[in-house]
Amino acid sequence: MTDQIFATNSLDNVVFNEEGFMDDASAWTPEIGEAIAQTLGIQLTDRHWVVINFARNEFETNGEAPTIRRITKNSGVETKELYALFPGGAAKIAAKISGLPKPTGCI
């Protein structure tokens, strides 16, 4: 219950677009990530954070959310695990939790 309140509070001032991606990636904090994950019904583990940190780094370097292919090739998390960590569309969900725009890559 306390967690739920905490989650709602952390998202109070966060602006999302229609699809649920954060408008301003630079406003993201790990607490916001945690709160978004909770609304999506995902309990973040260390493995989730490997992906989230990788995605944040990629975004800072390349200016876009990484594709699944980049994540699986470079973060040490393999395809099957990635889909298990972020059920319901690994690329989109991972980007949402990491506060990044929708990934545009085809792969």
Partner: protein
């Protein structure tokens, strides 16, 4: 705001061609579907079976004749290769090599690796029973998670899905 669409979507793809340029579209679409949380099935039939046949999946080639759009893109896109030239020995191998190189530049995996990736991503792969009988293939010839399915069963499974014939 955070929901992934209102009802679950599903994409059923029929892959019927075994040339390099026609092997990628079903794989790319199935993978894109899985990336956005859409279920995806691929039914491999006729020459499309090569894509999931263990002995052939690493040797998918470009067809260098019979394609009016066949050109030297991206090296010399203005040069349309005439049919007679496409029939010269080595043309298929050359165009296969060129296309594989361009695909690798975009960080797309080779066909065999792509199939594995799509399967790991949760897409289901099926070999067409009739085509397999015709070509003398058994389940042992197919890439591991692929299963054998008849056309009727595939259609039953595809109820409510968007069906795409490649």
């Amino acid at each position: 705001m955070f929901e992934n669409g209102n009802k679950p979507r599903k994409l059923s793809i029929i892959a019927s061609k075994g040339s390099l340029d026609m092997a990628y579209p079903p794989l790319i679409l199935a993978n894109a579907a899985r990336m956005s949380g859409i279920d995806a099935d691929i039914f491999f039939t006729f020459w499309g079976l090569d894509i999931i046949t263990k002995k052939k999946m690493n040797k998918i080639n470009m067809a260098s004749i019979g394609n009016p759009a066949f050109s030297m893109a991206p090296y010399a896109p203005w040069f349309k290769i005439p049919t007679w030239m496409g029939a010269l020995p080595g043309m298929s191998a050359l165009s296969t090599w060129m296309m594989n190189r361009e695909i690798a530049k975009l960080d797309f995996p080779p066909v065999a690796e792509f199939i594995e990736m799509v399967s790991d991503a949760g897409a289901c792969l099926y070999g067409c029973k009739m085509s397999m009988d015709m070509m003398g293939l058994t389940k042992e010839d197919l890439f591991e998670p692929a299963e054998i399915l008849g056309a009727m069963e595939f259609l039953e499974m595809s109820e409510g899905a968007q069906v795409l014939f490649v």
